[in-house]
């Protein structure tokens, strides 16, 4: 019988409650988060047009660099200013 030590972080992921989903999204403010990958703005520009045509308020945000997680302040700002967020993840 061999006893070994656990090399992992021994943590269990926290299960977070998802915020309640609304059946109606009309009139909500949508945040568009650009992760600063090349041509992410092309995709988000088009999305903005389509959303505004349908009467949504749109706010644009960008991460300083795609290689690092979004700063906590930016995440907080988005959560305060928007009801929904769409992230352009890749180039």
């Amino acid at each position: 019988m061999t006893i070994v030590l656990d090399p992992t972080n021994e943590q269990r992921p926290v299960t977070r409650q998802r915020s309640e989903r609304s059946a109606v999204i009309d009139g909500m403010t949508v945040g568009l988060l650009d992760i600063s990958k090349p041509r992410g703005n092309v995709f988000l520009d088009r999305l903005q047009e389509l959303l505004e045509d349908r009467g949504f308020g749109v706010k644009r945000y960008a991460k300083p660099t795609f290689t690092k997680p979004a700063p906590a302040d930016l995440r907080h700002q988005i959560s305060q200013e928007c009801n929904l967020v769409i992230e352009a993840l890749a180039d």
């Binding site: 061999t2 030590l5 656990d6 090399p7 972080n9 090349p38």
Partner: protein, 475 residues
Amino acid sequence: MTSPALTSPAVELADGVVAVVKRDCPTCELVAPVLAELERRGVALTVYTQDDPAFPEGVTRLAHDEDLAVSYHHAIETVPTLLRVEAGQEVARTEGWSRPAWEQLTGIDGLGAGLPEHRPGCGSLSVDPTIADQLRVRFEGGILHARRLELASLEDEMEALFEREWTDGLPVVPPTEARVLRMLEGTHRAPDEIVAVVPPQLVPCTVEKVAINAVMAGCKPEYLPVVLAAVEAACTDTFNIHGLLCTTYFSGPLLIVNGPLAERIGMASGHNVLGQGNRANSTIGRALQLVIRNVGGGRPGRHGIDRSAFGAPSKVGWAISENEADLPAGWVPMSVEAGHPAGTDTVALFAGHGPSAVVDQLSRTAEDLIGAFVRKVSANLDLFFARRIDNMLLVIGPEHGRVFAEDGWDKARIRAELNERVFAQIGKPAPAPRWDGPAIVYAGGDAGLFSALIEGWVSGPTGSQMICHPIRTSA
């Protein structure tokens, strides 16, 4: 799963004279009458016997050190050992039989009439190599806090570790308590000290967890300070292991070790330096990658966050050292270029992958040879449209180094000439000189007119910047 062992409290010794003996020792047999004589002559004597509880005869206060706790906690290496204890503290010690030493320690003259003057002792059972590890686990295992997993008797150890997804695809050394305790002897740092917060799951990682993964990677204890420093350096915002791990690009951390420690632990800097065959080179980088995998949770594949499209063989783990001993005249180690005093032990991290050959077997002057480097670097300049040179690292081999050095070019001159020519071709001013633009390491075998360019990932503040981090070898 079993609960962590409790560290046994050190056993307190009675005041007076304490002897530790075993019957299976001719010197102990020889001095058995002397111990009885000490008691007869009024010495407050306690004898601990390691094997036969009835040995020696003629002693009243005789205790069986069956679990060897007394021997272990009082660091008995030889039997017989004689201690003088005052107010619970050891104040004098002698090993083996020596009439003058025993007389001095006990304050009694004329001991052991008829015995030889001196006789060396035997090894204490507590340092017997077949049980020393078990004793260390029993008495010091309490300093380890990691969860214990008991592998079933029918489980193959190696297979069990694969099945738990703790490996990088190669076998790992099972991290038993004894091996981890031995690994921890490689550092003065406490096992519960936090080394870094490891991405992507941003988990505080202790010295103990690094030691466990270093055991698995195949490291020796003397490599541990390098691994600890590498984990610290990797988890900085400057190096940004988070982004490096998550990118779809090829790269992983390349470690370059400078300073006297590299040679002391046997790292390779010569033949095949970027390849296989040297234990320190092969396992130190692997230990860092196992920490990222197991502690940080950064695993490749469909369910992992490491989504590299291709990866690279070097992502198993990659570490080299610079050949400081043979640096050409006037050249300085990379660590010195990075601002550390000469002789500092450092580990530098570069986000890169496989080597690309710089071949020039004809040039006999620095002026000619730099052309081969310019062509190679220029071909890589447009990676990520960034036109940066600090996402490349040059490993200059001894034969190329000799050609440069004979014309008086040192690393700074090579870098300056390279930057000027490369950027002139694209009509841009050369960037301000920096040690990592590009970093230059002197290494490789002494035959072969080659060097290597190591391509890197996105550099600068938006990606990963090279970092040269001191290695702590003292408390």
